[in-house]
Symmetry: D2
Subunit: 374 residues, 4 copies
């Protein structure tokens, strides 16, 4: 089994999570400690790159990500930059034959996403997206049950991702509120997760009827004297959606979900059963089996930990942490390289999510249903 050497590009909050997650993977899967290494790190400034290298324990660092791509001893790169750098880095990495692990959302827009998916496909590389929520045990179990037909014919679904991070009008303008850097607002940041979770369980989206809104339209400039700047991304996005198979559903996405830290809920209602995922208890899936006898039916909270091949996962057994889901997602990427299998979630998956988001923006602008590009 080939040792995998990773070049990490970007080392903000999420870069740190990825780095830590790589270090614990061996303990979950009985691998040698040196089987997965972060060999190099790049940020945009030398000082931060050096500090990152010290924390990570790697020797190579740079203020230019291309130096990492140029190295023959780097097998894969992990992109943890803001969204507006994904496209450039991914295309450059593909050109250098590096496998790619990339934070979500895939890109700034459909055009970029489409080019990225095409590039990795053409190069025959492994390219995976950080849709880490798929790897919470309850969601993995939900996928199994859906595949087994547990819910029967699906009547409808619902998804929600609420945070309350921007409810204060005093909170300053930031890069997360600038379309030039992120491509979109709550829809891109939170919505990409919940849309992927629904897509993961239910399949392709056909059309959406969406309403996006910016609830606080100007915010103070950080460190300013009272000047404000315009917010040009959405704070809230409400979607009705039709899947390709005709199933109808609703999705609520908001950064103004007062009281929520990470309120992520997903529900599926079918003629044979129903299920409910709640991030508050990511090791437990709620299921309802309509086939059961009258007087015995009811929503059941099933434990979902430890049901997946190859795991030796002590930290799943109590409360599965955020980092654990990242580690699992990253491990799948590593395995795809080792086993030469298609990685999942792929850039193609990320492209579909990007298209749903693009359709949602178009729908909101127009005020009616818009088809998702195929």
């Amino acid at each position: 089994m080939q040792k995998i050497k990773i070049g990490l590009i970007g080392y903000g909050g999420i870069g740190r999570v990825h780095a830590a997650a790589y270090r614990v993977i061996p303990f979950h899967y009985g691998l040698p400690a040196d089987s997965i290494q972060i060999a190099a790190v790049a940020t945009t400034r030398e000082a931060t790159a050096r500090a990152a290298a010290e924390e990570i324990g790697c020797e190579i660092y740079s203020a230019d990500y291309r130096e990492l791509l140029a190295r023959a001893d780097i097998d894969a790169i992990d992109i943890c930059t803001p969204n507006n750098a994904h496209h450039e880095i991914a295309l450059a990495a593909a050109a250098k034959g590096k496998h790619i692990y990339c934070e979500k959302p895939l890109a700034m827009n459909e055009q970029e996403a489409s080019e990225m998916a095409a590039a990795v496909q053409a190069a025959g590389l492994k390219a995976q997206l950080t849709f880490n929520f798929r790897f919470f045990p309850a969601l993995a179990r939900a996928r199994q049950l859906m595949a087994e037909g547990f819910c029967g014919r699906v009547f409808s679904f619902r998804g929600r991702y609420h945070r309350s991070s921007y409810i204060s009008a005093d909170k300053a303008m930031s890069w997360r509120l600038q379309r030039e850097i992120t491509g979109g607002g709550a829809l891109f940041d939170l919505g990409s997760h919940i849309l992927d979770m629904l897509y993961f369980l239910l399949g392709d989206f056909a059309s959406v009827n969406a309403t996006l809104d910016t609830l606080i339209k100007r915010r103070p400039i950080a460190g300013g004297q009272g000047e404000t700047a315009a917010v040009n991304v959405d704070d809230i996005a409400l979607l009705q959606a039709r899947l390709v198979d005709g199933t109808l559903g609703t999705v609520e996405i908001s950064r103004m979900g007062t009281g929520a830290t990470n309120d992520v809920v997903l529900e599926i209602f079918g003629d044979k059963g129903a299920m409910r995922f709640d991030l508050a208890e990511p090791a437990w899936l709620q299921v309802y089996d309509a086939r059961e006898d009258d007087g015995a039916r009811g929503f059941r909270k099933i434990e979902t930990v430890g049901r997946y091949a190859g795991q030796r996962a002590p930290d799943w057994s109590m409360s599965p942490g955020f980092m654990r889901a990242h580690a699992e997602c990253q491990y799948q990427f590593i395995r795809a390289i080792w086993d030469d299998t298609p990685p999942e979630p792929s850039f193609a998956d990320g492209l579909h999510i990007q298209r749903i988001m693009a359709a949602a923006e178009a729908s909101s602008a127009r005020g009616g249903w818009v088809n998702v590009a195929e």
Copy 2:
């Protein structure tokens, strides 16, 4: 204090609930047992009317509701018939000067509802609708808190009413699935409740963007040999809505909410606070106060029972039952007669709900936003 004599029209399941509720009101408010009487009952057949009278303990019964309206000793009527009889009975009752208590939704359509509201207004009568959910303690408390500005500027809201009563394709056709009798499907039956709850707390609706669907399009005829009939009402209704004050929200209504008995949830998110009502615990309101200190904030489940003037309400104190909310709603109607005050929820309120539902149907047909009539 005048003794109130009521003529009850219709004695199916909900008529029985109303009748029982009238009988317990005196115990909750320290009134003489004979202060409120069901003096007469009418159904469409003499046998059922007689049986109803025996169960209720009244002497007068009839297979013709007009006989009740003709009696000088009947002060008020209570309409518990299917929706398609509301309009005719209410207009006839108004013509005879009877106060009216009517089951929801008000009518088959906006036109009927408008005529009914006009008729009782012109006649100077007390006319109230059975939006009994308003009278669960937690919702009453929510109204108080909204009036006090607890939530501050409202960012968004969400409402849900799910039942699972029709998930089986084997379930036979019934009058509840026939537009000629009900005027509408889940939207009318369940939606009228949740829309009124939102309107009660948040105010007038301005426009809606709705999708209605009939998930099971044909059903077997009861007692038939395999023949089926077409369902011509909605099973599910998904709404995005804008209030007059600009607030955005979402509403989910479904009879195919697998696993739900009566899953009724209402959420409001504002810059100062949030609240959540859940019918599963109708004596408790969840509130979040964003004004509190960091490290102390959180959703709080406040007990809401026993905070309203004049109640001696032992059965509120543990788990407030469905019938208790009906009794409270009916008592408000009686009080409006006694005190000559405007009843609430009024026929005008019912008309607004009818207009929201009409706009939702139009929106679904058209596939975009439709204004609610003023």
Copy 3:
């Protein structure tokens, strides 16, 4: 079917609940309104008796309960007095051949309870206790499941009844805190309920190891000038218990359960399954079936309403109220008279609970295990 005429003795808060509950029974069971009547009421003063009669709608009232017992047209009495009058009234009623419905706990002590149980047995009367919690749908369903062996061999159980009614040291002395009137404190008032629920599901108690404590030992006299009086009953009672079949369990009873309104929880753990009742949702029982496949097991919240013969129970269908459970309990008493069957819960059941409470008091005094009298 004989019309039942009831004489109600005592008309405080609980007397009012009983009176209201009798009036709604016909609607739940399709009975004629006049099949069950409160024909007379007695309190200790003429003024309160007259007011009660007006509220109830009965003509006969008295300040001497013996006048009710003397009437040939009274079939049964319902004792809603403080505990210290139960024994005298029940014995007098038995002597007059009246059926008896009595509030819990049965008596002031084991001696009284024993005499009461013997008296009604000797007289061949129907005598039932208000252990109304048995009649919440979820507890009735729990009993069915226990009878079917759902839990298998029971490993252990737990019961809790917490209220927070006395947490303030400023709360004045009251009759509920005086042993002369109540016979005991939290153990008698709250404990009798939870002990009966456990007994109902699990069978006879053999021994207990209990600790009782009075947490606030003196309280101000109501309307006084700062004088205080000693509290001579328990505020809290913690029990370990062994059933006759050897099963071990624990019970927590407290009036100082800060934050609780009526926190009533019951859990049973067995080798085949587990169950959990929570009064917060009295229509839902949580069950866990250990026989199910790995990956499907989990606590399930089953709906328990409407599964019992003869009910036409609209108010069960949403949230079953406190009064509804009383109505059901009272109806069982009426049925026992009509059908000449043994009433349940009987005075003999009440005597067993009284013996458990007596053993708990003895155990606490001694500091170790004490056997429950047979």
Copy 4:
């Protein structure tokens, strides 16, 4: 800041958790990757020691823990062996001047625990116990609130630790069921955690009244032909307890808590407030403030993450994992070495827990209250 080199002794499930946790600490606190190293590992067999070293990424391994103690370049040892080796290893390590991090419970009995606490005290070493539950954010916040007097005078408390790991009578005999290896059963394994959590929040225990039981008394020998062996430890332990300040409480510990994976609950009831910790949501603490206005009081679920100095803790922010609490506990140990401050939880704390457990065993044998040794 001195680099810390750790010798890990024992590499079963919990050893792996400790090893992984050390590796992620730098990312949570901005430390250089090499500031904390597992430099050596010892197990009882060379093959397992070598495999462990490969997974951990350290060069030194041994089948004799004394080789680790003999090395000058090892600063501290981490004891992850079964309980019966703690005493010998800790005393040997203290003699060699190594700081000690030890899994719970501290020892096989009070005598051993007492000697261990004395040895590290005499040697002036840092010695800490793995009471990792203290480090879940909600419990850390509970401690803060208790220190601020949030609950006022405490009336009572309750603790529970339930697992269902041994409900099947077919489950084979194992070392966890042998007193010779573990010192005790559920009381030692699960009880030590919940007792420490209560002690952490409430202070010293004075006496206990306990009942321990072995519910399945014989189990099949693994891989045998139907032979069975006697279980000589408890499956269940029920405690009543008095703290030194007089507070009364109850504790439930069971390995036969059917349906539970790790059901850990702690409740405190006081005249000013109440609190509730539930391991199912370890980032949220439920608190009730009795000082608040009537109509505003209620249990509140407060978010507790990210409130502690020095943390950069991305994985706390969603769902804090089991490993994260271990990392935090281990970091406190490292900090105690770096800052030369007393480690917490200390061996003295572990000794107090051991004494409570010893008193519980004595109490169960005798059937009454037993004082906890001072």
